[in-house]
């Protein structure tokens, strides 16, 4: 039988973190194994093909493709500036001239004798790939990728939007149960990653972004506020490419759930330090959760959590109604299937909630905290 693990988002102040940095196309790796790198350091670079414009030259000139060579003023491989003449057709006695100009600067990549089209390629776009996390280069694939390893603090969120960013962590002076409003956001937060509270208002997020924050980490968010922030409804749990200036990471879920003590405690121990964050979330095979990566803390946090098996005495949070958001301790893990209110027979557990209630829930509906 394969081993079944219960999902738990990592919250740990001391772990080994590896991040593979891949170029999308072959390029140049700038570091070697053993090098120490900072998060913002460029470790590899490549040249991405520029945009290719297809210009219907023969069509514009009103001539068959076979007549195009006589009208062309450029050849394959020529560099042209925007507005330069690509082709010209002179009418009767040269009075009526029709010209086709280059819509962009670039190189003439091809001239099609079949269609009379000319392709102009814009200059290539340099791509600089940073290390993202501060650490040591542990492997290099020439022209392709670099793996950076670090010992440090690692906290996963449940959902995020916005991509990789580096910033200075700032724990807001509010409790985890406080609803995050504009009043809690500092006037200046240039380059900072703000942490705290839950259910931010749209105004709070807008103010944080205006103040220059590069990240906001909070307990939960309601669906409408997320839509306001991103500018559209997110349909599929595949994020990270949103056009937002501030990466947003929620640690608990949708609705009004306070940011957990374990996250606050763990991040509190690296307050003021530079962290790497990424809101990219992919909730399917090969799941990716948003993350906060910071320097290592000497003392091991008692709240450290990594994925593990369920056991009696383990602390869990329930992630579905009717006990959504409630935390407690596992009291019993019956072997036999149990019938739940829906009528389904499923694997269950019994837990004692923090408010003293004894509840039975499907094992699929808990996560370790």
């Amino acid at each position: 039988m394969s081993k079944v693990l219960t999902p738990a988002l990592a919250v740990t102040s001391r772990t080994t973190i590896r991040r593979r940095r891949d170029l999308p196309i072959a390029g140049e790796v700038l570091v070697k194994e053993g090098d120490r790198v900072t998060g913002s350091q460029v470790v590899a670079r490549a040249q991405l093909d520029g945009e290719l414009r297809l210009i219907r030259v023969a069509e514009v000139l009103g001539i068959p493709a076979s007549d195009l060579p006589a009208a062309l003023r450029v050849a394959e491989g020529d560099h042209v500036e925007e507005g330069a003449q690509l082709a010209e057709l002179r009418g009767l006695w040269g009075l009526f001239r029709t010209t086709v100009l280059a819509p962009i600067s670039g190189t003439v990549e091809f001239i099609s004798s079949a269609t009379g089209h000319v392709g102009v390629r814009a200059p290539s776009i340099p791509l600089n790939l940073t290390a993202y996390i501060a650490g040591r280069v542990v492997s290099v694939e020439p022209q392709r990728s670099v793996v950076v390893e670090a010992e440090g603090t690692f906290v996963q969120g449940i959902f995020g939007v916005g991509g990789e960013r580096l910033g200075q962590l700032r724990i807001l002076p509010i409790s985890g149960t406080t609803k995050l409003t504009e009043d809690h956001i500092p006037e200046r937060a240039q380059g900072e990653v703000l942490v705290g509270g839950h259910s931010p208002t749209s105004g709070a997020l807008a103010k944080a972004a205006r103040a220059g924050a590069v990240g906001c980490i909070t307990g939960s968010i309601d669906d409408r506020t997320l839509r306001d922030y991103v500018g559209h409804d997110i349909g599929v749990a595949l994020t990270g490419d949103e056009a937002v200036s501030m990466t947003l990471i929620i640690t608990e879920g949708f609705g009004a759930l306070p940011i957990s003590e374990r996250v606050l405690t763990t991040l509190g121990s690296i307050n003021g330090q530079i962290v790497s964050i990424n809101g990219a979330t992919q909730v399917r095979a090969g799941a990716q959760r948003p993350e906060i990566i910071g320097p290592m803390v000497d003392s091991v946090n008692p709240h450290d959590i990594r994925e593990r098996s369920l056991s009696v005495g383990a602390r869990v949070r329930i992630v579905r109604v009717p006990y959504f958001g409630a935390c407690g301790v596992i009291a019993e893990l019956p072997h036999e299937l149990g019938r739940i209110e829906t009528g389904a027979m499923v694997r269950i557990l019994r837990a004692t909630l923090d408010d003293g209630r004894q509840v039975t829930v499907p094992r699929a509906n808990v996560e370790l905290v």
């Binding site: 297809l54 409408r224 749990a237 579905r320 009528g343």
Partner: protein, 607 residues
């Protein structure tokens, strides 16, 4: 390994899905084939294992433990083949696969609703997900098409365009656009992108000359040799060959997996399509089958077209699903459409947040009835949206009567929707939300309401989603596949009866009377949804007599409909709500009435 059907007695089949690898054992016992044992294990195509065979062997091991039959060994292949002792080992191993995102394709054509649409049907029928389709008439500028194409990484590209003997310039231009965009293949980026050309034969040389700079091109007969003819077979075969040689062979561990079987690995949806087609053709029925998963919803249909041919179609709605994509159903359908199926009131904020939480914790399950009904409401909308999508692509082409300058324009009026719910014989539901609904009546109601069924339709669910396995088994032993499909795979729920009538008619009282084996068992009442009890197994002849001359139950207005049906535990589900649905207000109360009548609320006949 044996492949002769007469020698086969034990066949092990896996379906390597994105998340789970499911192994099923099929055995011939007591003169018929049975599905006997089932094992599953997480699919291991992703890092850190990155070898699909590890998950497959784990699934074999579970089958071995459950069955007591010696199956796994340490050799290569890692299973025991039968010798003299028929109680040990297997005769044959087969597999399907959709791991790693399945087969992903880009299709290109010239005219959106002619060649591009045929290309999409060819790709979908071969089991692919169409990532993007581009047409010369799609309203985009060339640079927009190029920009779109260059950012996707398809496994295979299918290029079509033009009828044979027609103009060549547009399809040649499309080839230039492709070369300009130069998309990279998903796997093995040192390889040239596989491109299949299935367009105007006269343009083939020019297209190959242009494309071969950047791609590995094969030419097959045109998918649309004439405006009124479609020829999808050669393109589908070429897709399957590239799937094996370029996609499967570069996926982690698949080289080894392929060496374990004498039969080619099939894309999962293609295998499902095959078994659905086989069932429809052999039983002479129109069939609609849906597989609703966590991320995507596949719809398969076989309807007899106007030429009398069983026309098969498959579509995949890539972002309609019950977990990863659940919030996309919310986005596409809207809150009001989902809430209309609920027998209780819920605020918009609560509904949205609950579905978002399901999206981010996709393996969680509903514990309360209200939460279950919410997921089932989402399922109804996913069915509705995916059927809409399917109808737009499942198009029949009627032969032209005359040739003339207006042929191209006439063509649009000669396309017709193949899916006609009034002519639908069997609706099959598959996927956890339907197959594992705590009550079969819930599954029946999801099919009736989600698809908006009309007339008389047999309802069924796939017991444990074994259709992929049966599809590939059918390629070796069609009889075995059919026996298991009808006896172990399909669970008949009973027929639904939905009379329809012109919306301008005001009707009250009975719409139709229902007879089973010549005995009157009840009637369908306007606006009401009820259940008429029947024996839960076996077959019976159902006769439905409309109460008014304008009421249609499937045989035409006012006409009696009679046919043999498979009976099931839901009896006859009678829906007296006219189509399209206009649900009464307040909706929650109305839906509470429906649930109550069917025993889904209040301790009634809960089945």
């Amino acid at each position: 390994m044996k492949t002769n059907p007469t020698e086969l007695k034990t066949v092990l089949v896996t379906d390597c899905g994105s998340t789970t690898t499911k192994a099923l054992l099929f055995e011939r016992r007591d003169d018929r084939w049975h599905q006997t044992f089932r094992g599953e294990a997480p699919t291991t195509v992703e890092e850190p294992t990155a070898d699909v065979t590890i998950g497959a062997v784990n699934a074999f091991t579970e089958v071995q433990e459950l069955s007591g039959r010696a199956i796994v060994n340490d050799g290569e292949p890692p299973f025991v083949l039968t010798t003299n002792d028929p109680s040990q080992g297997i005769d044959l191993y087969l597999s399907t696969s959709s791991a790693g995102g399945g087969l992903q394709m880009l299709v290109a054509g010239v005219v959106r609703n002619i060649t591009t649409e045929s290309a999409e049907r060819a790709a979908l029928g071969a089991g692919a997900i169409v990532m993007e389709s581009v047409s010369a008439d799609d309203g985009r500028e060339d640079y927009e098409r190029i920009e779109k194409i260059r950012h996707i990484k398809p496994d295979i590209v299918l290029v079509t365009g033009g009828v044979d003997g027609g103009a060549t310039s547009h399809v040649v231009e499309m080839a230039e656009v492709l070369v300009a965009a130069s998309p990279r293949p998903r796997f093995g980026d040192t390889l040239k992108l596989p491109v299949i050309y299935a367009g105007n034969a006269e343009a083939a040389d020019e297209v190959v000359q242009i494309l071969s700079k950047k791609a590995q091109v094969v030419v097959v007969p045109n998918v649309r040799p004439t405006l009124e003819q479609e020829n999808l077979g050669p393109a589908r075969e070429a897709i399957h060959e590239f799937f094996l040689s370029h996609v499967m062979s570069h996926s982690p561990g698949y080289g080894k997996l392929m060496s374990w079987s004498p039969v080619a690995i099939m894309p999962t949806p293609a295998a499902v399509g095959d078994i659905v087609q086989m069932y429809a053709t052999q039983t002479g029925q129109n069939v609609l089958c849906v597989d609703i998963g966590g991320a995507t919803t596949d719809v398969f249909s076989v309807f007899v077209d106007k030429a009398g041919v069983h026309a098969f179609n498959r579509t995949v709605s890539a972002n309609l699903g019950m977990s990863y994509s659940v919030a996309n159903v919310l986005v596409e359908a809207g809150v009001a459409h989902i809430a209309r199926w609920l027998p209780f009131e819920i605020s918009e904020t609560e509904l949205r947040d609950r579905l978002r939480n399901k999206m981010i914790r996709p393996t969680s399950i509903p514990q309360t009835l209200e939460d279950l009904w919410l997921e089932q409401a989402v399922c109804r909308e996913a069915l509705r949206l995916s059927l809409d999508h399917h109808r737009s692509l499942a198009i029949g082409l009627e032969a032209k009567r005359e040739k003339g300058i207006a042929d191209v324009f006439k063509q649009s009026s000669e396309r017709y929707e193949l899916v006609d719910l009034m002519k639908l014989d069997v609706a099959i539901g598959s996927g956890g939300v339907l197959s594992h609904a705590p009550s079969r009546m819930q599954a029946a109601l999801m099919l009736v309401e989600g698809f908006g069924l009309q007339g008389i339709t047999q309802l069924a669910v796939d017991s444990i989603f074994m259709m992929p396995h049966l599809g590939v088994l059918a390629s070796v032993h069609p009889q075995a596949a059919r026996e298991v499909f009808e006896n172990d795979c399909l669970i008949y729920l009973g027929p639904s009866v939905v009379p329809v009538y012109p919306v301008k008619r005001q009707v009250q009282g009975a719409l139709a009377t229902v007879f089973l084996d010549e005995k009157e068992i009840g009637s369908v009442t306007t606006g009401a949804v009820t259940q008429l009890p029947t024996p839960s197994t076996g077959k019976g002849v159902i006769r439905v007599v409309p109460s008014h001359g304008f009421v249609d139950v499937g045989a035409g207005p006012g006409k009696t409909f009679e046919r043999e049906v498979n009976l099931g535990e839901c009896g006859v589900v009678c829906d007296g709500r006219n189509r399209p649905f206009v649900l009464p207000e307040p909706r929650a109360a109305a839906q509470r009435g429906v649930f109550s009548n069917l025993g889904l609320i209040g301790g009634g006949t809960h089945v």
